[in-house]
């Protein structure tokens, strides 16, 4: 029998506000434990939550970007459970009425196809603190710095069918929230995490199998691996006549497996009810309209724009996926006016250098300004592809104007055709055997002669021009 996996993701997006969702404490990452937990975060008696307006703005921005309905009236509920890193004994979340309703997102798959993934809802909630188990032998430390950090929990429909699709969806979400500037996208610091709901069913069936939930996955690679493991596990259990228990599992990347966290028998009753400390969240349509009027260009629009400029699907996607890359590329494109050259340089030489130096594109030593001037000099024939690379390397290593460096490094192509012709003659004369073969029709040797001329000119000749000169001599 063949099986069809059914997958849905809950992505927790940490919103990039300066202060917390219900208090004025800072959300900056990496402070001393408990240095960023104020009386509200600590849940001291008598203190009260006050909603951070920026959080609402960001949630609406996200909602508009996925074409979702914005609920002008939504409610904050208390989710009650005891845990040492949950100071109040409840988490403030949106249960019944989330601020963002149904929407969808377009996911681009590696094979070039796209898939529309439904988003059920996105709601606001506060993060809990952290339990630290490895700091004090035999004891658990509590760090409440993360307590009250704003989260947008984005719940997808069970529309995903493979682990690769799920990973692509997670990536697409990462791209989108970074475009919207509502999340720094730093997975290593936990700025985005996801829970995956996985089930399998016989291919062709419309029923859903029992599902399990893999908690807290924080990398694109692990999403794919964890889900693949879980799909295989489900199929193994079902094919050997067993049944899947609804449970929560965690993924262990070291052993590449998922393990149960807590089972159904311990399933908790969170006793959700509206938080009486917060009034229902009422949003004016004008507030939404103002956000809509100020939306940045979204990833899909950018992709289309790049395709219309003549780039391939692959290149358009590669450049549009990361907003910093796209911003850099746009700056180069505006000045150079040559989409293909700009894409080649950004995706080629620049990407390779950034990769090697482990540098972020926003900190690239070669500015979009310099790169577009370099491209202009390639287009007008001043630079050959070889000297252009030399120039790029020079720009990467040192300060300087593009034209000044071309001069000082002597990188300009030979524009004097008389001198070039003399060199061509010399090269032909120096290799009589090869010349005879070329003349007798061995066209492959054309490349040899062009190479020899380029070598003699230290790369400054225009290979096209050399080619033409040699042909003329035959």
């Amino acid at each position: 029998m063949s099986w069809e996996p059914v997958i849905g993701l809950e992505v927790h997006v940490q919103l990039a506000t300066r202060s917390k969702i219900f208090s004025g404490a800072s959300t900056a990452f990496g402070a001393e434990p408990n240095a960023q937990a104020c009386a509200v975060d600590l849940g001291l008696p008598g203190v009260l939550p006050v909603l951070n307006e920026d959080v609402v703005r960001m949630a609406i921005k996200f909602g508009l970007a996925i074409g979702a309905e914005i609920n002008l009236d939504s409610i904050f509920d208390r989710k009650n459970y005891f845990y040492p890193d949950l100071p109040k004994g409840y988490q403030i979340s949106q249960f019944q009425t989330p601020v963002v309703g149904r929407g969808s997102i377009t996911v681009h798959l590696d094979d070039g196809t796209t898939r529309e993934v439904g988003i059920t809802r996105a709601h606001l909630e506060e993060d809990a603190g952290k339990s630290v188990h490895d700091m004090f032998p035999g004891q658990t430390g509590i760090d409440l710095n993360r307590t009250g950090t704003p989260l947008l929990e984005v719940v997808s429909e069970p529309d995903l069918r493979t682990a690769a699709e799920a990973a692509a969806y997670f990536r697409q979400m990462h791209t989108l929230v970074r475009y919207l500037k509502i999340c720094d996208g730093n997975l290593a610091e936990g700025s985005m995490r996801c829970d995956a709901n996985v089930s399998v069913r016989p291919a062709g069936s419309n029923d859903l199998g029992e599902r399990t939930e893999i908690k807290n996955i924080n990398s694109f690679r692990f999403v794919e691996r964890a889900i693949n493991f879980e799909i295989e596990r489900h199929i193994d259990v079902l094919e050997s006549g067993g049944t899947i228990e609804r449970e929560t599992r965690q993924y262990d990347p070291d052993r590449d497996e998922t393990r149960p966290m807590r089972g159904k028998e311990e399933s908790e009753d969170y006793r959700y009810f509206p938080d009486p400390d917060l009034l229902p969240l009422s949003i004016d349509q004008a507030f939404v309209d103002a956000i809509a009027a100020d939306m940045p260009e979204l990833p899909e629009a950018r992709r289309s724009r790049y395709r219309e400029a003549g780039l391939s699907d692959y290149d358009a996607g590669w450049l549009a996926d990361d907003p910093d890359v796209a911003t850099y590329f746009d700056a180069v494109l505006v000045q150079s006016g040559d989409a293909k050259q700009s894409a080649n340089w950004v995706m080629g030489e620049l990407a390779a250098h950034l990769n090697k130096a482990e540098t972020d594109i926003s900190a690239a030593p070669v500015t979009p300004d310099q790169l577009s001037q370099l491209i202009a000099r390639v287009v007008d024939g001043t630079l050959s592809s070889k000297t252009a690379k030399t120039l790029f390397e020079a720009l990467w290593q040192q300060e300087g104007e593009v034209d000044a460096l071309i001069d000082s490094l002597g990188l300009a192509q030979m524009s004097d055709s008389g001198e070039l012709e003399r060199i061509v003659d010399e090269v032909l004369a120096a290799n009589p055997g090869q010349l005879e073969e070329l003349k007798s029709g061995k066209d492959k040797l054309l490349g040899f002669f062009v190479g020899q001329v380029m070598k003699a000119t230290q790369g400054k000749a225009n290979p096209q021009q050399v080619n033409e000169l040699i042909r003329a001599k035959l």
């Binding site: 009650n80 100071p87 009753d269 009810f273």
Partner: protein, 480 residues
């Protein structure tokens, strides 16, 4: 100074230079030292004298407010920076907040001298002040009797002349009922009028702080300083007006006053309420009967909602970060179980249990949701009544103070003490209790209720009533 001097009288004495704030404060501290009612949990002698010295300086330099130098005591539910806030519980026996409640801060800014923290039912849960970890409070009128609750310490302290005024909180009657039992005047403002920031939460959608004093004028003076929008409390009302910012305005003539028929059955204080009616008729007001048909459902509705909210508000007391923590916990479960079992008293546990039950899967719709629907019906009852009348006159409690221990075995009978106060709380309305006579030698109170934010109206009626009666000037000493 006369033992039961009002704030207005003390103000005149301070302004005339008859005595200093320091002298006044010393006087009250001496009386508190001789207190036999157990009205205080914590007396802040040092802080009070320092505040009095600062008040004297402020008065001398001429930048005092109408409250500068006047003593007051805070119910021990209001957080006070650097001074323990116990909420009447073992759980918070050693808790010192690093912040002042907004009410405390506002009164402090006005120059009020805080004498200390008054006793109360644990986490404000109770109607007799018998549920305090720090011991029951005696009614100054008869020490074998309860002062009412939960603001029993505040009411007893004012009645015993240990402070001229005190703050209280009222969730289902906790200002009004003890005011009635102790023969003083107490106001529960409209929900949202007074910030809840720094007030240890019992039931967030009902809790409201307010003043307790000898008469309506003093209560008005205090509420004008306590009330006002506070951005730290999302449920505080964003309004321009502050009640009684220029004293109590003149009462409109010929008010229509409603008598809720459902409240006038089997009362021990029917004759006293008739007399109030007669006095107010003499002042030109007219009376009509009104109906509040959902009154019967109010007490169970209240105990479901208040319990539900309390059950989660009190989850933070888990022995992890502050408050009582059991000795040598063996596991996380053990830490929770024993810290909470040891830290909370019986009534608090009862309400956490019933509240948790009401919110649980399978019971939520039948209890919590149903209670919210009835709450809306009760609020609608009042709204319809106020289409017809300006003010309601009702009993505050069914009778006078009862003997200590009389109702402790029967929680439901105890809950019935709140039958006339909880409907008003569920509707979020302003209400006050004012002394209106004696039954069996103990004071009883009449309750005035108004539409939202109409505090000035009921304070005006109470002031006018107190101008033509003297119940509010009676003292326990004179009675003995």
């Amino acid at each position: 100074m006369e033992r039961h001097a009002t704030l207005a009288e003390l103000r005149r004495a301070l302004d005339n230079g008859d005595l200093s704030a320091i002298e006044l404060t010393r006087d009250y501290l001496t009386r508190i030292a001789d207190d036999s009612t157990n009205a205080f949990i914590n007396v802040d002698e040092e802080g009070a004298l320092a505040a009095a010295a600062a008040a004297d300086e402020r008065l001398a330099s001429g930048d005092g407010t109408p409250l500068t130098g006047l003593p007051l005591a805070h119910k021990d539910i209001f957080c006070t920076r650097g001074l323990a806030t116990t909420c009447g519980s073992r759980m918070l026996e050693n808790f010192v907040a690093p912040y002042d409640a907004t009410v405390v801060a506002r009164l402090k800014d006005a120059g009020v001298v805080n004498l200390g923290k008054t006793n109360m039912d644990e986490f404000a849960m109770g109607s007799s002040n018998e549920n305090s970890y720090f011991g029951a409070v005696a009614n100054p009128w008869r020490e074998s009797h309860v002062p009412g609750g939960s603001s029993g310490g505040s009411a007893a302290a004012v009645a015993a002349g240990l402070t001229p005024a005190a703050t209280g909180t009222d969730t289902g009657g906790s200002i009004r009922q003890p005011a009635s039992f102790c023969g003083i005047t107490g106001l529960k403002p409209t929900y949202g009028r007074v910030s809840r920031y720094g007030m240890v939460a019992f039931a967030s959608s009902l809790d409201q702080g307010g003043p307790m004093a000898h008469n309506a004028e003093d209560v008005a003076l205090l509420v004008s300083a306590m009330a006002g929008f506070d951005r730290r409390d999302s449920t505080s009302a964003e309004r321009e007006d502050t009640p009684c910012s220029n004293g109590i305005p003149a009462t409109p003539e010929k008010l229509r006053i409603g008598l809720p028929r459902e409240y006038y059955h089997n009362l021990d204080i029917a004759a006293e309420l008739d007399a109030v009616r007669a006095s107010l008729e003499n002042l030109g007001h007219t009376f009509v009967d009104v109906n509040l048909p959902h009154t019967e459902a109010a007490v169970p509705t209240y105990y479901v909602i208040a319990g539900a909210e309390a059950s989660t508000n009190l989850s933070r007391f888990d022995g992890v970060r502050f408050g009582h923590r059991c000795e040598n916990p063996e596991s996380l479960e053990d830490l929770y179980d024993r810290s909470r079992s040891e830290g909370f008293g019986e009534e608090v546990k009862r309400r956490i249990l019933t509240g948790t039950y009401a919110l649980s899967v399978g019971y939520f719709d039948a209890y919590y949701l149903q209670a919210q629907k009835i709450r809306r019906l009760i609020a609608n009852d009042f709204a319809s009544a106020f289409e017809d009348v300006d003010v309601l006159l009702a009993p505050t409690a069914p009778g006078p103070a009862f003997e200590r221990g009389a109702l402790t075995k029967d929680p439901v009978a105890m809950y019935q003490q709140d039958i006339f106060t909880v409907p008003v709380s569920l509707a979020g309305l302003p209400a006050l209790s004012m002394p209106c006579g004696f039954v069996d030698g103990l004071p009883v109170g009449a309750q005035l209720v108004a539409a939202p934010f109409q505090e000035e109206l009921i304070l005006g009626v109470a002031r006018d009533y107190q101008n033509v009666t003297d119940w509010h000037t009676r003292t326990p000493e004179a009675a003995q």
